[in-house]
């Protein structure tokens, strides 16, 4: 029996991440974590790599986690959770534990796309029963907004500042969801907190499947995106409406787009409220916007093709 996703019912459910944590005001990741935890009805064991979520939720002697939680290092959340999940199976086999448990990793994009990529790939290949959630805020926010391979093309970060010679990051994002789908795991999806029902339904679907599951969830970061403190959900919606952040799921290799905007908005609508793209307004940088729009269009078309072909693209 899965949790009711009616707002009234959700408001009565205990959130396993207690208030008092030190996430920034208006942080998208904190919203995402709460939504994910609310959607799951079984006991949950959580693992986080070093990062924003980790350093703000468990500062000795305090913890915000009302459920078992482990952090060991930055590059190895999937490997650490592999160990936890394997011990669970070992003890269950021996009758020393009988509960059903959902194992959830919450990792940022740095810990997922970059330094944690190898351990993630290994864990997915080995087939551990875990739900890996990437809260993708598009850069290394905890260390001070350095570029990651999830940073969008053209974005200014502290290591790719918009200079007169190089106007921001000159590479496109890595398509992590498709890379995960190529591991042939049973469930891959992309979600955004602006579409919370879609997000929570995906979490419920994933949690019901045995084996490795991967969810990439957009987590607006007002510090890194140089946006208004109360804009997380607005920006999340704009990312979806511009198809910059498409909502889809890939079940056993078959793609379904779970939300199609009636009218695709121009990418500019998503970029404009964000200071990290402010240099796009300079006349000499017009090409940046064109290039980013082309990339978004191509990926959206690929996704539509993948859906009709009942596969996924690469």
């Amino acid at each position: 029996m899965s949790v009711s996703l009616k707002l009234k019912d959700l408001s009565e459910k205990e959130v396993l991440l207690s208030s008092g944590h030190r996430m920034c005001a208006g942080c998208g990741a904190a919203i995402v974590v709460k939504m994910v935890l609310l959607a799951i009805d079984k006991p949950v064991v959580v693992c986080s790599p070093t990062g924003c979520l980790e350093v703000t939720t468990c500062i000795s002697d305090y913890t915000s986690w009302k459920t078992p939680w482990i952090h060991s290092a930055f590059e190895n959340a999937a490997a650490t959770m592999s160990g936890v999940e394997t011990m669970y199976r070992a003890l269950k086999k021996k009758g020393r534990i009988d509960k059903e448990i959902t194992f959830v990793v919450f990792a940022g994009d740095g810990g997922t796309y970059d330094i944690g990529f190898q351990s993630l790939s290994g864990a997915m290949e080995r087939g551990h029963d875990m739900l890996y959630v990437c809260y993708d805020n598009n850069a290394y926010m905890n260390t001070g907004i350095q570029r990651s391979s999830a940073t969008p093309f053209g974005a200014a970060t502290t290591t790719t500042p918009a200079g007169s010679a190089i106007p921001g990051k000159m590479q496109h994002r890595k398509n992590i969801a498709m890379i995960m789908a190529a591991h042939d795991i049973p469930y891959v999806a992309q979600a955004a907190p602006s579409h919370y029902k879609d997000l929570m339904r995906k979490i419920q679907k994933a949690a019901a499947v045995k084996g490795p599951k991967f969810l990439n969830i957009l987590s607006p970061c007002n510090r890194g995106w140089r946006s208004r403190i109360d804009d997380a959900i607005t920006l999340s919606r704009l990312a979806v409406e511009t198809c910059t952040w498409p909502l889809f799921e890939i079940e056993n290799g078959e793609t379904t787009i779970t939300y199609k905007p009636k009218k695709k908005k121009p990418v500019e609508d998503f970029l404009k409220p964000q200071g990290r793209f402010a240099h796009f307004n300079k006349p000499e940088n017009e090409w940046l916007l064109k290039k980013i729009q082309q990339k978004v269009d191509r990926e959206w078309d690929n996704l539509i093709r993948a859906e009709s072909a009942k596969g996924f693209y690469n």
Partner: protein, 392 residues
């Protein structure tokens, strides 16, 4: 019943792991550890034991998975060598800092570059400050015995720290020697049930592992860890006394050989101690009063006890199978630290031998004895630190 067998060091370690039957074992292949884990995997595949194996994609993930598994609440083991241990380095500190009783055979191997798969001690010496207990083993028998005792030391309620059991790559891991296996039941009873503490899988009593600890507490946290290390001497001795009852073999923090009336001594770890003992015997036959001391527990290091034994000697030659470039070998600095606070100070020499698997021959042990005797006789132009038997 205990049985005599002819096996390799890796066979012996795999057999010990089989008898212990850990709940989870994570492993990644690296020479010369490979056939230890291959043998262990056969036991798992044939259903002889019910350990859950995680065959990870790197040693970094092997140690990470061990950390997750141990925190979850069960008995955990892995094994590695040389560069594999080096890749684990960051996670070694996490394992000890979280007080997780993981046990790991380290089949000693040189570090690159240049690439070399053979024995030296650079790997374990590089990890000496990581908060792991280190037991060193001269031969397959000692490796087997140390591995069994390691679980008891690691899991002791006063300790709760990880242990690495070192054994020389190829020289011991791949050569067959005669030794004795203890009966399965005796090993099982000796090791006993794993007593979990703060298990992550205890859903009713949720715990948080791996917090951020700032300047207000980190210093004290590390002091507690250091205090736990101080208790290892006692626990290692107690465990050895119990182990003697099931094995008939006596273990201490270090072994002394013909030291009663010695005027000089060699200090050496692991397999080279075997060769050295033979050469010490020959020297004794010629009337030279030389002995040998072989540390077994390298971390924590029994400075006081070793200092007491060595303080009356005229000269001591410390043989190191790894170098701290631009400084003295790691074993040498411990011996020097052991002696400094005692009245009599033997002259100390440091000889580096056997890097990258270069054979340590009786003639090398003889060179060390000649040097230490010359030092005892007051010869003044001896090099303090020197590589033995450099080829021209």
């Amino acid at each position: 019943m205990n049985v005599a067998v002819a096996v390799t060091g890796n066979d012996a370690m795999a057999h010990a792991l089989k008898q212990i039957n850990p709940d989870v074992c994570a492993a990644y292949p690296i020479t010369p550890q490979t056939d230890l884990m291959q043998r262990f995997s056969e036991f798992v595949s044939d259903g002889e034991i019910d350990t859950e194996l995680i065959l990870v994609e790197s040693e970094h993930s092997a140690m990470s998975a061990c950390i997750g598994a141990a925190a979850a609440g069960g008995r955990v083991a892995t094994a590695t060598s040389g560069p594999g241990l080096a890749l684990m380095w960051e996670m070694l500190y996490v394992a000890s800092g979280m007080r997780l009783p993981i046990v790991m055979p380290v089949v000693n191997r040189a570090l690159s570059a240049p690439l070399n798969i053979h024995c030296d001690h650079s790997d374990a010496m590089g990890a000496r400050d990581s908060g792991w207990i280190q037991l060193w083993s001269e031969n397959a028998q000692e490796a087997y015995d140390n591995l069994i005792q390691a679980f008891r030391i690691a899991e002791h309620p006063d300790i709760r720290l990880p242990v690495m059991v070192c054994m020389d790559g190829f020289i011991i891991s791949h050569s067959i020697c005669r030794m004795e296996y203890i009966a399965d039941d005796a090993v099982k009873n000796f090791v006993g049930w794993f007593k979990e503490k703060n298990a992550l899988l205890d859903i009713e009593n949720p715990v948080s592992y791996g917090p951020l600890i700032l300047t207000d507490q980190y210093h004290e946290y590390k002091k507690i860890q250091s205090d736990a290390m101080e208790r290892v001497f006692r626990v290692t001795t107690d465990v050895a006394a119990e182990f003697e009852k099931i094995s008939g073999r006596k273990y201490d923090l270090f072994e002394t050989y013909r030291m009663e009336d010695a005027e000089t001594s060699l200090i050496v770890l692991n397999s080279a101690a075997g060769t050295s003992k033979d050469v010490v015997d020959e020297a004794r036959d010629r009337g030279i009063k030389v002995g040998l001391l072989k540390p077994r527990l390298f971390r924590p290091f029994p400075h006081k006890q070793i200092g007491k034994i060595l303080q009356h000697l005229k000269a001591v030659c410390v043989l190191d199978r790894s170098d701290s470039f631009g400084a003295y070998g790691p074993l040498f600095t411990e011996i020097a630290a052991s002696l400094y606070n005692y009245g009599g100070k033997p002259r100390l020499l440091n000889r580096i031998y056997g890097l990258g698997g270069r054979d340590f021959l009786p003639k090398d042990a003889l060179l060390a004895i000649e040097a230490v005797v010359a030092a005892a006789e007051g010869k003044t132009d001896l090099a303090l630190k020197e590589y033995l038997s450099i080829r021209g």
